[in-house]
Symmetry: C2
Subunit: 359 residues, 2 copies
């Protein structure tokens, strides 16, 4: 009997459903053509701002249990119109997206960056960019550990605690070393701010040094997060594998998306490498309610997220076919833009970066 992948699909809000519809077409096509005979069984979950406005629920325990019983998750984007007063008290990001990442122990947030042929980078000379950010997904300043006293008074104090554990740091650092060892350049860069965040910085630094002993082939270096952003724009080709904490990873990967031609192209996997919980794949972009429903959102990031999903499901060949199709499509689009521009310099054809807003 052939394997069935039970896929939880969370299209979400705004452009989420549009890009997921396209991504599922690609998934269906590539799986149907795969010699393995694998099939995909989809369950749709209606979650996000729209669902909250209808029912008052962000993510119920029953939703979570049901999602957790699947083999993998594909998510579009969640979040309503910014400033919508009805959403004031619903933090969809924390209550849904982060809740899923934390509950399903997605300790690796994998975010690859390449500049595809034909795609225009805002950098005049980016070089050969091909790196992966391994962002920790379950700790750091994202834990929601903090609080407020004397709220609303001149004596208010609001604290946020970044929690970092040897357990949590070591497992993501090991994953990053494995990944670095499997890549041709075998290079790992730790990004942190060890000169200021001395407690967590020391833990990250010592962990990388300790784990490095098991990977003598991997060259290791270190950059402060501020310096890393400089190299992202002056010499992004220097990076291979980056390992970093949850917040620095959030910042660096949006910047990475921007320099590689737009977060309309940036895919991500929230991975639980142990397999105890399903991993979740999602474009880095947000729900972009301003352009939703117009069928102008670029589904590439969602499609590339499908490739990451196929990788993680052990279907590397199918993943490669998806990436090849994306490569061809982006090059075709660039050629069409070039041709149209030659005819009429102001032609407005769909350039290979979409208008998507940052999440």
């Amino acid at each position: 009997m052939s394997r069935v992948i039970r896929l939880a699909v969370i299209p979400g809000d705004g452009i989420g459903p549009e890009v997921i519809a396209e991504a599922l077409k690609v998934l269906d096509a590539v799986v149907a053509a795969d010699p393995s005979g694998v099939t995909v069984e989809k369950t749709h979950f209606s979650l996000g701002a729209a669902r909250f406005l209808e029912t008052g629920d962000v993510l119920t325990d029953a939703d979570l249990a049901s999602i957790a019983s699947h083999d993998a998750i594909l998510l579009g984007a969640v979040g309503g119109v910014p400033g919508d007063p009805r959403l004031k008290d619903a933090n969809i990001e924390r209550g849904l997206l982060l809740k899923l990442r934390f509950s399903l122990d997605h300790y690796v947030n994998l975010r690859p960056t390449t500049i595809y042929p034909g795609v225009t980078s805002p950098l005049s000379n980016p070089g050969e960019v091909d790196f992966v950010v391994v962002r920790e997904g379950t700790e750091g300043p994202y834990v929601g550990n903090g609080g407020v006293i004397r709220a609303g008074t001149p004596h208010e104090i609001a604290n946020e605690v970044s929690v970092n554990t040897a357990y949590g740091v070591e497992r993501v650092v090991r994953f990053a070393f494995e990944l670095a060892a499997s890549r041709p350049r075998k290079k790992l860069t730790l990004v942190h701010k060890t000169n200021v965040l001395v407690f967590s910085g020391s833990l990250w630094q010592r962990t990388v040094t300790a784990v490095a002993a098991d990977y003598p082939d991997v060259a290791v270096d270190y950059l402060h997060v501020d310096a890393a952003t400089i190299f992202f724009v002056t010499n992004p080709a220097k990076f291979d594998t980056i390992v970093t904490d949850n917040l620095f990873g959030d910042i660096l990967t949006d910047l990475a998306g921007a320099i590689s031609g737009g977060i309309g192209l940036a895919a991500s996997g929230n991975i639980n490498p142990s397999g105890a919980f399903p991993s979740m794949f999602e474009p880095v972009h947000g729900s972009a309610p301003d352009i939703a429903g117009q069928q102008i959102a670029d589904p590439t990031a969602a499609i590339l997220s499908v490739a990451l999903l196929l990788d993680q499901q052990g279907m590397a060949e199918a993943a490669t076919r998806v990436r090849a199709a994306v490569t061809t499509d982006l090059a075709d689009r660039a050629a069409r833009v070039a041709a149209a521009t030659a005819d009429s310099p102001s032609a407005d054809v769909d350039a290979p970066t979409a208008r998507t807003t940052a999440a």
Copy 2:
């Protein structure tokens, strides 16, 4: 009797003394030519990694008291050779630089960004870039409030606490509004990560909303820090005044330096607007021990820091003369590079960005 500015000079390590020597020449020249008759009286402080290696002291109470008795501080850069084992237990950054910022209540860290004519940005189309980041300087994740339990064991936990107070946030936000109101575009962008750092984010957001009522002419908007990095590379011209916390400001201003042609050109002021303590002016770059002593470090950032110092000392005209001289110099250098390149495309003349390492 004419006014005397008592200036504490901390040349520091690496390229610090070289760039400060040039900056002081500029300061002396512009002050001598100023009709106000102001004079500058300098006290040199030997502080930094070199001093630590000699004496074991990073910053004594006596140093601090003496520095605090001055009218202003000019600092080059501090920090030894990265990885020097003798510096392992001396955190020069925390023990000296941050100690000064915190002790002297430098709650405004002012970091302007412009692309000077002739300077090459790594962005192919940066547009008219002219913004200022108002970075909070005395709170946030920089407070050093954190700790470790079970250090060195598999059960280690390392926490960092970001502390944010209504008092601290409001005063820097008010400064930012004043600044925004004085600039032609009158635009203020709050950068934070309110969807994740909900406690501190709420305090920042509410404070900006409240203070905005006193500045009806200033247009206010908000960006998450990750989204802000995207706009820094896709449309930096959109920014006017940015107000943000200590850590986000650290990251954004290195990125700002990079897109404007290198942190060899980026100046900063650590300002105590109340005047209770002397303000401190320093280039954003670090001590770059790898290029120290070769007289190849670009002193422009230190010279532009002198301009900020003059501004703060009420000598706006002298500050303008310094900036005009820098503008001319950078354009001259660009012209020389262009001429030399026309002769021989591989000529290695000093391009208007220097090799300086990030602090």
